[in-house]
């Protein structure tokens, strides 16, 4: 619905963004793809040679990979479970009439704005440290042995930290969705004799389904890339106990200088992320028509 003139202008206006993103996408990704078929170590420059699928073979058969894959799934799944369930409950609570709602909202949303390195270090040192951390102090006050969270339950601890960061996101989105629920619909249901639980199950929850799906998909994209939290707390250890795919690729390429292996890992990470992305894009794409 426009003239040829404005269409030409539009094409001109959109091209810088498209060209830049195209370059950002294609150049490095094709380099990664190329490297993934090379024997290429930064410590041995000039020794690059073609190795076919070897890098993929080694990366996929490395026990570290299956550990990292499991950890990634546990990390993503665990955080999603905590944030979606917790976020729904919290959103329901915050949607009730109360005093100081604005302030509570601000308190709840705050962790989302904390940079990952800060939240990870604060939890690691001030709370989970087995000697001087808050939890250790509490345990001793109760006459129990302090627990070294990051040494004995590294993955669970990281899940806890990441969940704390993402709970506000889920809460905020679900709360926004709740507030768009038609009050008259609720009143109609009440007139029809539905109790509070019925109203939640048959009206609120279906209304939230879309928002929950969005939360799950978007968080998944970000959670697949969790990195800083692991880097500053456990360095992926002990052993590979808290290594996820992202961290494994980083370790392979920039700690072991194995560009070929790291690239193969990077391509695998891209494939995994794309599987999730396809679902997310369908969701958002559908919404675009509405």
């Amino acid at each position: 619905m426009a003239t040829q003139h404005s269409k030409t202008a539009a094409r001109l206006m959109i091209s810088p963004a498209v060209i830049l993103l195209l370059l950002w996408m294609i150049v490095p990704l094709s380099m990664t793809l190329y490297f993934s078929f090379l024997r290429y170590n930064l410590l041995m420059p000039g020794m690059e040679s073609f190795t076919g699928w070897d890098n993929y073979y080694y990366f996929l058969t490395d026990p570290a990979f299956s550990a990292a894959l499991t950890n990634t799934i546990l990390l993503v799944g665990g955080v999603l479970l905590i944030t979606v369930v917790g976020g729904t409950l919290l959103a329901l609570l915050l949607d009730q009439p109360m005093w100081g709602q604005g302030i509570v909202r601000i308190l709840v949303i705050a962790p989302f704005f904390i940079m990952p390195t800060v939240s990870a270090l604060v939890w690691k040192n001030m709370f989970m440290n087995p000697v001087n951390g808050m939890f250790a102090h509490i345990a001793r006050a109760l006459g129990m042995q302090p627990f070294d969270f990051l040494a004995h339950a590294p993955l669970a601890s990281i899940i806890g930290i990441v969940a704390w960061q993402w709970l506000p996101f889920a809460t905020l989105i679900l709360l926004t969705a709740l507030q768009s629920l038609d009050r008259e619909q609720m009143e109609a249901a009440e007139m029809d004799g539905a109790g509070p639980l019925d109203r939640f199950l048959y009206i609120t929850l279906p209304h939230l389904t879309r928002a929950i799906t969005v939360v799950v998909l978007i968080q998944t994209i970000f959670l697949l890339g969790v990195f800083a939290e692991i880097l500053v707390t456990t360095n992926g250890g002990p052993g590979t106990a808290s290594t996820n795919i992202t961290y494994l690729v980083y370790a392979q390429s920039l700690l072991n200088y194995d560009v070929g292996g790291g690239s193969a890992g990077g391509i695998i990470a891209v494939i995994l992320a794309n599987i999730v992305a396809i679902f997310l894009m369908r969701m958002i794409g559908k919404n675009l028509d509405a």
């Binding site: 619905m1 003239t3 040829q4 003139h5």
Partner: protein, 332 residues
């Protein structure tokens, strides 16, 4: 000057043909109304003239110059949009001044013209407010003011009254008509409301599915509708259209007679029927009468015509006011 000529104008959106091929002459100073049901292409036609859409084929001439390829700003036309399209972040003064500022006019001249337009449109006391603080009618006047100051070759109105309530609509209708009489500038006005078309136009263009059904003065269209579509569209309540043997008696495939052209009697007449719903408007009464072998007929009776549901009445169409249409729907 504001003579606008469309030559063989066509518009397609991809495969969909919105306007097949259309010729139209609009004389300088004329008030032309494009009227038709929604989706008939009347707004598209206006946007083609404005230059907001490209024509797929054909030519648009403004005062004899070929304007087909000109961008909207160069055509010297002003447009009043359905949503008024005021700039919400500018005051009334700045809204009205905007086209002059774009034309890089001198500030003193801008001020003079804006003051003048505000005075004509009774906007002086609101001139430093923003559109959000104005009522619908005031916004409408600002939109018109923004059009006036440019002293355009022609004004284009795209259903400008459809967002106003009924009482205000009647007022604005008068104001726009008066404006036309004092400015004597060409105006092209799009509406789906045939009452607006009848009351305002010098010339009505009835559009249907992108085609011109008929062009003419309001009374021409009322007296001599060229076809069934125009007959049914112009006039309120609608013309009664009767097919079948009864029409054949008058030598037509379809015969039409307006509610105000049927005489009603309790004793005798051509058709006998039974009164269904009767609508009392005060000044008139509209009876819906069921006659065997015909669709329900609408008949206008006097304002205080006493009649009840189920009463038997006789109807007679006035002989010189009967419209006859052939098998192709055209007037005979």
């Amino acid at each position: 000057m504001g003579k606008i000529t469309l030559r063989n104008v066509q518009k397609r959106f991809g495969e969909a043909v919105v306007i097949p091929s259309l010729d139209l002459d609009i004389e300088d100073g004329e008030f032309v109304v494009f009227v038709g049901p929604s989706g008939c292409g009347k707004s598209t036609l206006l946007r083609l003239i404005a230059g907001l859409e490209d024509v797929s084929d054909g030519q648009i001439l403004i005062d004899g110059r070929n304007a087909t390829e000109m961008p909207p700003a160069k055509r010297g036309l002003a447009m009043v949009f359905q949503s008024y399209a005021l700039y919400p972040h500018m005051t009334v003064r700045k809204n009205i001044a905007f086209p002059l500022k774009m034309a890089k006019m001198e500030q003193s001249e801008i001020d003079r013209r804006v003051e003048n337009a505000a005075r004509i449109l009774n906007l002086t006391s609101y001139i430093d407010r923003r559109p959000g603080q104005l009522s619908g009618g005031q916004r409408q006047r600002v939109a018109i003011g923004r059009a006036i100051v440019r002293e355009p070759a022609a004004f284009l109105f795209d259903e400008p009254l459809s967002n106003l309530d009924a009482a205000l609509r009647v007022n604005m209708r008068l104001e726009i008509t008066e404006l036309h009489q004092s400015l004597q500038t060409t105006m092209i006005y799009v509406t789906h409301d045939q009452v607006e078309a009848m009351t305002m136009a010098d010339k009505i263009v009835v559009l249907n599915a992108g085609r011109i059904e008929q062009v003419g003065s309001p009374l021409t269209l009322y007296r001599n509708p060229a076809n069934l579509f125009v007959a049914g569209f112009i006039g309120s309540p609608k013309m009664n259209l009767i097919e079948g043997p009864e029409a054949a008696k008058f030598g037509a495939t379809t015969m039409g007679v307006r509610p105000e052209h049927i005489d009603i009697s309790r004793e005798s007449g051509l058709w006998q029927g039974e009164v269904g719903v009767s609508e009392h408007l005060g000044s008139d009464t509209f009876l819906h009468v069921h006659v065997a072998g015909m669709p329900t007929l609408t008949v206008r009776a006097g304002g205080e015509y006493g009649v009840h549901h189920g009463d038997k009445v006789w109807l007679t169409p006035q002989a010189d006011k009967i419209h006859r249409f052939g098998p192709d729907g055209r007037a005979l």
